[in-house]
């Protein structure tokens, strides 16, 4: 199978021009783009090689769902494939860029309506162009006491991120699970509302996860089966109090007891947030660049790591999480958690508390920010990063083994190990960040080699990634191999039935329409 980046949309220039003209007549000239600069502006900000391999041919930016319908119908008529983005800030996974070059970007950035916010039932109904900053500003400006779940890079879209299975670090951190009730433009241009929304004016559209009949919503996440034009998102009511617990651990092996002890507390829902455990690299990369510490080739040696830990006063691993809601309950839970940890370590938690009436800055509310963007510059030059994120059982021994395999591989390919783990209730996502210099071709080669080795190592142990960069969508799809790739074959069967012209996001998550599949 060829690398996904070698495929190209088979659209003749004349056909493309006719399509863009037809779209311009419907949505206005100023929202149709095909100049060289505009095309380049949709390339991958952190491209892992020549960005032109994922270059679109143009972009169109509708304002309404009706305009999306029109564009999708015209795309069918002129056989021009599209690539949907909400805000296209999918940095580390391809940004706004498509898997297949030559497609037209369907850019929903202008669809910025916040349609409803219901404070009592704690949800909002928004369009895909609404960014984390937009929603937060709206909640603040209107004094609405609902909390969001934001990201290290909050430039993106609340819906786009959720559709990509994005994550935060609050009790609402599994963003795709907060989606409730969607409106979609289907590949044939029809408009569909899911769940209870399939009934006219049903007020439970965004309140009940189940409608009548099969539930379709998750099938439109990480997929190319439809274009989401609005969705309900559940938000977190502002809690009565929070309690923050922090602990460091000294040795790489400590991840075993950390994961097992925290894991039990997650499964029991004593800790309700997605709990993160991170290594020292986070602090170094947020504050400095590699050459501040070490200029040699290969991964940083242990004495440099020691200096980093000294300077920032951090452990090899660093645990931080919060308990939410009633202060008395938080205190009781904190005591229980401390007892659990006393059984496995002499380290103790640092604890701080917030309750209603205390300064809001201490509450631990997840606010939009871009602080993590700083880390991307670690390797020097024009920085970039890509994350490798397999999902494992919530088990300390297995997490240690995965971490250790990854660390050895990264060293072998000459990269510093940056690890963070997200503990869910029964699974753990073991994320390793690879930082690179975008202009160092030799380093980019090593990134590709490392990434493919990591996919293979994980698959050999039975694990797959939760999300991946556009360069690796086929590789990861192939690692899901049960019964001769039955799930991929099923997805492609569905794709062909829903989207016979292969219009929507060809190659997304390795799902190719028949029209482009032959080349595979």
């Amino acid at each position: 199978m060829a690398a996904s980046s070698s495929r190209r949309a088979d659209v003749a220039p004349r056909q493309l021009t006719r399509f863009l003209k037809a779209v311009a007549a419907e949505i206005g000239d100023e929202w149709v783009f095909d100049s060289a600069t505009d095309v380049a502006s949709y390339q991958d900000v952190f491209a892992l090689g020549d960005p032109r391999l994922h270059s679109p041919a143009g972009a169109v930016a509708p304002l309404t769902a009706a305009q999306v319908q029109t564009i999708v119908r015209l795309a069918n008529r002129f056989k021009v494939p599209l690539w949907t983005i909400s805000r296209g800030k999918n940095f580390g996974y391809g940004g706004a860029a498509p898997v297949m070059r030559g497609v037209v970007i369907l850019d929903l950035t202008r669809m910025k309506r916040i349609i409803d916010v219901d404070e009592k039932l704690a949800y909002c109904v928004i369009e895909p162009g609404v960014g984390f900053y937009d929603l937060h500003a709206y909640l603040r400006a209107n004094g609405i006491r609902l909390w969001m779940s934001c990201l290290g890079n909050s430039l993106g879209s609340v819906i786009g991120n959720a559709l990509e299975h994005g994550t935060g670090i609050t009790p609402y951190a599994d963003h795709a699970m907060n989606l409730c009730g969607m409106e979609l433009v289907m590949p044939d241009g029809d408009i569909v509302r899911t769940g209870m929304g399939a009934m006219d004016d049903n007020p439970t559209w965004h309140l009940s996860r189940h409608g009548y009949g099969p539930g379709w919503e998750q099938m439109f996440t990480q997929s190319n089966f439809g274009v989401v034009t609005r969705a309900g998102m559940w938000l977190m009511p502002e809690p009565e109090g929070t309690l923050s617990m922090t602990m460091n651990a000294d040795k790489p092996e400590d991840i075993r007891w950390i994961v097992d002890t925290l894991g039990e507390l997650r499964t029991k829902r004593i800790i309700t947030q997605a709990t993160t455990v991170r290594n020292y690299m986070r602090w170094a990369a947020l504050d400095s660049v590699r050459s501040d510490w070490y200029d040699g080739p290969g991964a940083m040696p242990d004495e440099v790591i020691e200096r980093i830990r000294q300077k920032y006063g951090v452990g090899w691993w660093n645990i931080n999480f919060r308990l939410y809601e009633l202060p008395e309950v938080n205190d009781a839970h904190a005591r229980f958690i401390e007892e659990k940890f006393k059984a496995v370590t002499d380290n103790r938690f640092e604890i701080s508390r917030w309750r209603q009436g205390d300064p809001p800055a201490l509450s631990g509310e997840s606010l939009p920010g871009v602080g993590s963007m700083q880390m991307v510059n670690w390797a020097g030059g024009r920085g970039g990063h890509v994350g490798f994120s397999p999902v494992l059982p919530l088990n300390g021994e297995l997490a240690f083994a995965q971490f250790d395999r990854t660390r050895v591989r990264m060293k072998e390919f000459g990269f510093d190990y940056y690890g963070s783990m997200y503990l869910w209730e029964r699974a753990i996502t073991v994320i390793s960040q690879i930082f690179f210099d975008r202009d160092d071709a030799q380093m980019l080669e090593r990134v590709h080699g490392l990434f493919r080795a990591l996919i293979a190592d994980a698959a050999q142990n039975g694990y797959g990634e939760y999300r991946t960069h556009i360069d690796f969508m086929d590789d990861v799809a192939r690692s899901f191999a049960f019964n001769n790739h039955a799930l991929l074959r099923w997805n492609e069967k569905l794709k062909d039935a829903l989207d016979p012209n292969g219009i929507l996001s060809p190659g997304k998550q390795g799902i190719w329409p028949a029209r482009y599949r032959e080349e595979a």
Binding site: F33, V45, T109, A137, Q374
Partner: protein, 115 residues
């Protein structure tokens, strides 16, 4: 239920930190259009301690790291940076920052240049 209809979620809800100019006469804070667009699109990285400010401190020195205080930014340079990115700064499409908005931002960032 609260609604806002159509259009951009913009000037009505300016972000957290504020570069507004306080008018001494009536104590009202005024925001130029260019400033508002800068706050909306750029400020999160170009505040003190923002990732833009930090990296600029490395490259052009601390005294020039805060864009809103600069007196030497050339319009064409700002345009090129916003459309093509620079170093660790990602670029912006013309959908996200329209040409008209960019012109306002350029006016704002060059307002204190010696003429």
């Amino acid at each position: 239920m609260r609604r806002i209809m159509g259009g951009r979620v913009l000037l009505a809800m300016l972000p957290l930190l504020f570069w507004g100019v306080v008018n001494a006469a009536d104590n009202r804070v005024t925001v130029e259009p260019g400033q508002a667009y800068f706050m909306y699109h750029c400020e999160t990285c170009h505040l003190p301690n923002g990732t833009g400010t930090k990296l600029l401190a490395r490259r052009v020195g601390a005294d020039k790291s805060l864009l809103v205080r600069r007196t030497d930014l050339v319009g064409d340079y700002v345009r090129a940076v916003v459309r093509n990115g620079v170093g660790g700064m990602p670029w912006f499409t013309r959908v996200e920052v329209t040409d008209a908005e960019l012109e306002e931002i350029v006016n704002y960032l060059t307002r204190n240049n010696p003429r």
